[in-house]
């Protein structure tokens, strides 16, 4: 069965992230993001290859994804001579450093979306286990998108006969901007005003000196979660996890001697997809809400979680998230310098960001891919803009995965250990 390719437009957040990468120039930081899926056996390469080949005709990247010309040049697939070059499928043996070592190398091996396909798939196996790694240039899709892509490939493998109807239609069409132009414009202006209000000055950098932006260091920890559903539900909420991250951030803050009277901003990415399906596979369907966190000096995480929940509720009441999204969407029509007018300090590239994301259960509907059991997995992001640091949660089966990642010398291993320790205590988890 062949379905027509569908166009998926670049969205505002994509444009901003692409521009930030491009502004960094050649030899820039890797914008790679990684989905690492740990497997109970070796993947049959030919089945992955076959599914990838069958998926490509449906893939909107080749048709319309990057159709709008961008001021900083054509991305790889928009150059006619390069045509629809498929994403490469690589095979490698898993070295003694296992999946973490492979993830490190995938992060460091920068995909350049202007010169090569912005996605590659790696199958790996060896004495240290087996894994499937999806690596993509970050703005092309978000973590949910990568899971959806993998699910689509696995679904195709489940239905190898083209005559068999595909079990679910590909949901690849981006929703258009809702509402009248004038209304969207007013919302976008409000979004810009929020940014000015929240971040009139550059956030303080945790880096001791101008850092090397090219490196991203991830540290992965595994935990078991509480079996008590009510506690688990409460601690799975965004406000609680945000409070935990804020507490960890405060610990690092104090380690640097920056004082507890300095509030800091944590960008919270809120998934705008409708619930119950992952939505379009490509693009960042995330609205950014900047939570202004006071340092929780008294250590009362529950109180901070209540404050952050009230803050988020107020943002919902005032339509702030929608305004932030509309502001981002207008980045498609405005030159990047418009953004720098709102945040003048961003133009220097001299800023530090601290990120938080909770991507929830990994592949909840599947226990295997390509006939091989899934035994774990997690997301790793390169935390743009840089220098930056981030804490990312992914639940896979009965395991909670926490990845602390940073660029340059923003954090070090001792910081990562401290952050992981705080997360473990506040979430009432036990190490695996």
């Amino acid at each position: 069965m062949t379905l027509p390719p569908r166009a998926t437009a670049l969205l505002g957040p994509d444009v901003i992230l692409l521009a930030m990468e491009r502004l960094a120039g050649s030899g820039a930081a890797s914008g790679n993001a990684v989905l690492a899926v740990e497997l109970g056996g070796s993947l049959p390469r030919e089945r992955v290859e076959r599914a990838l080949a069958r998926f490509l005709p449906l893939c909107p990247w080749l048709g319309g994804r990057l159709a709008r010309p961008l001021p900083w040049g054509k991305l790889f697939w928009r150059v006619p001579a390069r045509g629809p070059t498929p994403p490469p499928l690589l095979s490698t043996s898993l070295a003694a450093d296992g999946v973490p070592g492979l993830v490190d190398r995938e992060l460091a091996n920068r995909l350049d979306p202007w010169r090569e396909p912005p996605l590659r798939v790696t199958v790996a196996s060896g004495d240290a286990g087996a894994a499937l790694i999806l690596t993509w240039a970050h703005p092309l899709m978000d973590p949910r998108g990568s899971e959806y892509l993998l699910r689509l490939l696995a679904d195709l493998d489940d239905h190898p006969d083209d005559a068999t109807p595909w079990p679910r239609p590909p949901l690849l069409t981006a929703p258009g901007d809702a509402g009248a132009w004038r209304e969207r414009g007013a919302l976008a202006s409000r979004g810009a005003a929020q940014l000015r209000e929240l971040a009139p000055e550059p956030p303080l950098s945790l880096a001791a000196a101008r850092p090397d932006r090219r490196s991203t260091v991830p540290r992965h920890r595994r935990f078991r979660f509480s079996a008590e559903p009510a506690v688990d539900r409460m601690k799975a909420s965004v406000p609680w996890r945000l409070a935990v991250v804020a507490k960890a951030m405060t610990a690092i803050w104090m380690r640097r001697g920056l004082g507890t009277n300095v509030p800091f901003l944590v960008p919270v990415s809120v998934d705008r997809r409708r619930r119950g399906e992952p939505g379009p596979v490509l693009g960042n369907y995330l609205a950014f809400h900047f939570a202004r966190c006071p340092a929780p000096v008294d250590g009362d995480t529950a109180a901070l979680a209540r404050k952050l929940r009230a803050d988020l509720a107020e943002a919902v009441r005032r339509d702030d998230l929608e305004a932030a999204w509309a502001g981002m969407s207008f980045a498609r029509y405005r030159p990047l310098r418009g953004m720098f007018r709102e945040l003048p300090w961003a133009a220097s590239g001299d800023f530090c960001s601290f990120h938080f994301a909770d991507t929830g259960p990994l592949l909840p509907e599947r226990t295997d891919v390509f006939g091989v059991p899934v035994i774990g997995g997690y997301h790793v992001a390169g935390v743009p803009p840089r220098p930056g640091a981030g804490v990312f949660f992914t639940r896979a089966g009965t395991t909670e995965n926490v990845v602390v990642s940073w660029s340059g010398d923003v954090l070090d291993d001792a910081d990562a250990d401290e952050i992981a320790g705080i997360v473990q205590r506040e979430m009432s988890w036990t190490p695996v």
Partner: protein, 85 residues
């Protein structure tokens, strides 16, 4: 103002959920478990703000128990049994 009947509030919550939160292919019914349907903490906040706007009731943190937020109907029961702030 007389409290709204549970069934009417339940129907209003279901309408809001299916119009604003849920995917078209994944609608919820009155007694479906919201968490199992994918209603996470951010989506729940939107529902709570809807209840506040429509019925003048804000569910405080300490009353956000599993019994209250289990389904559209249990939320409606809370709303019709509580007093506006």
């Amino acid at each position: 103002m007389a409290p709204a009947p549970v069934d009417a509030v339940t129907a209003a919550i279901v309408r809001f959920l299916n119009a604003q939160i849920m995917a078209e292919t994944n609608p919820v019914a009155a007694d479906d478990e919201l968490a199992a349907a994918g209603v996470d903490s951010m989506a729940l906040l939107k529902v709570l703000v809807f209840l506040e706007r429509e019925y003048g009731i804000w569910v405080p943190d300490e009353e956000l128990t599993d019994d209250v937020i289990r389904s559209a109907r249990t939320l409606a029961a809370y709303v019709t049994g509580a007093r506006p702030a």
